[in-house]
């Protein structure tokens, strides 16, 4: 970038009504309300001059300061002190300047990043975007992510707004743009309602995607099933509702594991063990390390619990707990 560019700016007093507000080429919408900005403008006026560019026909296009200038125009402000760039600048130079102007405001939200990357992609090569701009925007530069950002930029107000307000996380937004539009919209609404953390959002999205692939169903169908299952649960509070959805999804994604867990719980109940004697299978029933926890407060109680546990250990329930398939099946055993 030419370090002299800022020196090319000329400070000028501009009448807002003379500006071409329809020229939105450099506009990067925030997709969320800017009450804070308006309050600041009302209290202190315009502390940073907008940046304009003189187009070939002599009219002035806005490069930075759309919202400030709109505010000034609506307020009937007569003159605004602005910095004006000369016409001789190329599209690439203008975009380099525009990206710099964005770095000095609030951190960019995902909707803004998407618009910037999308606009840059029509101006610069992938290599240039990757090495020059993505680090500035704090965007990891994988080749496939560029496509996702551009797809996000094409979404409507609802999706971009949810991303901008962080109702859906950046990672989730970039995944959802690859979903069928109907499923994407439903998922955005569900996540907005659930108000869950970014990591839980990702878990839900990933699970739904995997269930859809596993069952060869469109994601919209999977979502439809899940929503009707969720409707019958009495949970209304977002956190409880989120948990209910996670449980439903877990059962659907890991049916055999969940079946085994449920079977284990049933057998445990059948065994009627006291509360201070608990049996734990190894994680995912993998391996041989089962555990028994005994909590006691005196010798008599320990003796009593040990004899209960011995009775349980000798009962067929434990065998079935540990080897339900062997207990169930009538298969021929191997040679030994």
């Amino acid at each position: 970038m030419n370090p002299e560019v800022p020196a090319q700016c000329t400070p000028l007093r501009i009448l807002p009504k003379h500006l071409d507000f329809s020229q939105e080429h450099f506009r990067i919408g925030r997709f969320k309300s800017r009450e804070d900005l308006v309050a600041s403008l009302e209290a202190f006026g315009m502390l940073h001059p907008p940046l304009l560019w003189t187009q070939a026909d002599g009219t002035l296009a806005i490069l930075d300061g759309f919202e400030r200038l709109h505010w000034a125009k609506n307020r009937g402000t007569r003159e605004v002190l602005s910095l004006v760039l000369p016409p001789a600048l190329s599209g690439n130079e203008l975009w380099r300047i525009r990206v710099q102007t964005l770095l000095f405001g609030l951190p960019l939200n995902p909707a803004q990043k998407a618009q910037v990357i999308h606009r840059l992609s029509s101006q610069f090569s992938f290599e240039q975007i990757h090495t020059e701009f993505l680090p500035l925007l704090h965007v990891p530069g994988r080749p496939e992510s560029l496509k996702s950002w551009c797809l996000l930029a094409h979404q409507d107000h609802e999706v971009l707004g949810a991303a901008a307000r962080e109702e859906i996380s950046e990672r989730v937004a970039l995944e959802l743009v690859h979903w069928e539009p109907e499923a994407m919209k439903t998922m955005v609404r569900v996540l907005t309602e659930l108000q869950c953390s970014a990591s839980i959002q990702w878990e839900l999205v990933e699970r739904i995607k995997e269930v859809a692939i596993r069952e060869a169903l469109p994601r919209a169908r999977v979502l439809e099933n899940l929503m009707s299952e969720l409707e019958v649960t009495p949970q209304k509070h977002p956190r409880r509702k989120t948990q209910a959805l996670r449980d439903i999804l877990e059962r659907r994604r890991f049916p055999r594991l969940k079946e085994r867990e449920a079977h284990f719980e049933t057998l445990l109940k059948k065994g009627a063990l006291p509360n201070n004697l608990r049996i734990y299978p190894p994680p995912f029933f993998e391996g041989r390390n089962w555990q028994m926890h005994i909590t006691f407060s005196n010798r008599e109680q320990l003796v009593e619990l040990l004899s209960t546990s011995t009775r349980f250990a000798l009962s067929p329930l434990l065998e079935e707990m540990m080897n339900p398939l062997a207990s169930k099946s009538t298969k021929t055993q191997g040679r030994s």
């Binding site: 496939e144 995997e210 692939i213 596993r214 060869a216 994604r253 890991f254 049916p255 055999r256 594991l257 085994r260 994680p283 995912f284 029933f285 993998e286 391996g287 041989r288 080897n323 339900p324 398939l325 062997a326 099946s329 298969k331 021929t332 055993q333 191997g334 040679r335 030994s336």
Partner: protein
């Protein structure tokens, strides 16, 4: 099955006079050869280039066992890396710093070190394979490597060689003096898995036809159902493949059949998703195993293994079947016994070699597991 030749061969100067390169110049006369001084000058990641370098590392690597999952004591002879068959589940995809095919040109050195090792331990029975970092026969039509290595084992009293492949490139094996000490092994699956996950490999029929041919030339056989994949109609699919095997070859020629349910390092998942977006194999019921790899939930593994075991037993109750990298409890639940009851898994396989191939009868030691970690996990994929 067809294979496109490389566009170029690049050779490290110190192996520019190797017999491997001489052979390649004869079988691929149209392919240009460039000699470079150092490996670091080689172009990166060009799948159209075949690289010949000199190998400096450990010659024989052990199949890894862990405390939780039993290994077979197999030894891997490192003769090259990478593969162009592009199976969706292949572990070699995770090794992208070496994306191109690479062969070791210092074969003579490798062979003499191998013989030295075998001579040093005459009472140890070695089961040696070449198909862990690549497919054993993929490049054989050009390298004719099999014609040099198979006779090397023909008179060894304490070693057998296993060539594992998903190709049907067996032409070079015909007429060799193998001395009954080479097994040719095929990794097999259902037809539908072959079509969707291994589309560039030989079809199941081609592989079994090839097995039938080599069996006719006196070779022993092995089959590896690894990875076993739970998919729609898997029972029917695996039964069909097993039926085909037993119709085509005499079970008496099969030294062993291994079974290994699909498992993968978690880091492989995003790589497979990116490289093979249409595959569904990642979306089974996988849990994190005790070795941190993703494995099917145990009940599914038991079901897969029991089904295979019972189907194989119907054809030949004496056939040696083993589980690749599985825990003792899964062995017991699926097969009804644990390798410990038979002296351990390496011993079980040595016994199969002794009984079927009559090799190593004087050997009293099996190769111990040494717990290293080659890219697959011992007898696993890439290649089988």
């Amino acid at each position: 099955m067809r294979l496109s030749p490389p566009k170029k061969i690049i050779v490290e100067r110190n192996v520019a006079n190797s017999s491997l390169l001489e052979q390649l110049k004869k079988t691929l006369p149209q392919v240009p050869v460039e000699v470079l001084n150092h490996r670091k000058d080689f172009p990166k990641d060009d799948p159209d280039v075949l690289e010949i370098i000199s190998f400096k590392g450990r010659l024989l690597k052990s199949c890894p066992g862990t405390r939780h999952y039993l290994c077979c004591g197999y030894q891997i002879l490192h003769f090259g890396v990478q593969c162009t068959l592009n199976c969706t589940y292949c572990i070699l995809q995770a090794y992208l710093n070496q994306a191109g095919l690479r062969l070791f040109g210092n074969e003579e050195e490798i062979f003499s070190a191998l013989l030295e090792e075998l001579n040093r331990n005459p009472q140890t029975l070695y089961r040696i394979g070449t198909g862990e970092y690549t497919d054993s026969l993929l490049l054989d039509p050009w390298t004719r490597f099999s014609r040099r290595i198979v006779p090397l084992f023909a008179r060894r009293p304490n070693a057998v060689l296993e060539l594992k492949t998903k190709t049907n490139f067996v032409e070079n094996l015909q007429g060799l003096d193998h001395g009954g000490r080479t097994l040719v092994g095929w990794s097999l699956n259902t037809r539908s898995v072959q079509i969707s996950e291994e589309p560039r490999t030989a079809s199941i029929k081609q592989r079994i036809d090839a097995a039938q041919r080599v069996s006719g030339w006196g070779y022993f056989l092995s089959f590896h159902f690894d990875p076993l994949i739970e998919h729609k109609n898997w029972r029917q699919g695996y039964e069909e493949t097993l039926d085909r095997i037993f119709q085509a070859v005499d079970p008496g020629r099969i030294v062993w059949i291994s079974l290994g349910a699909f498992r993968f390092m978690p880091q492989l998942k995003p790589i497979v998703q990116r490289r093979h977006p249409r595959t569904r194999i990642l979306y089974g019921e996988f849990i994190r195993g005790l070795d941190q790899k993703m494995r099917y939930f145990r009940d599914i593994r038991v079901e897969l293994y029991s089904f295979m075991w019972e189907t194989i037993r119907k054809a030949d109750p004496q056939l040696c079947v083993y589980l690749c990298m599985e825990s003792e409890d899964i062995w017991r639940e699926a097969l009804g016994f644990s390798p410990e009851q038979r002296g351990g898994l390496p011993q079980m396989l040595d016994d199969a070699v002794k009984t079927k191939m009559s090799v190593g009868l004087q050997c009293i030691r099996s190769n111990p597991c040494q717990g290293e970690t080659p890219p697959g996990d011992g007898g696993s994929f890439g290649c089988v």
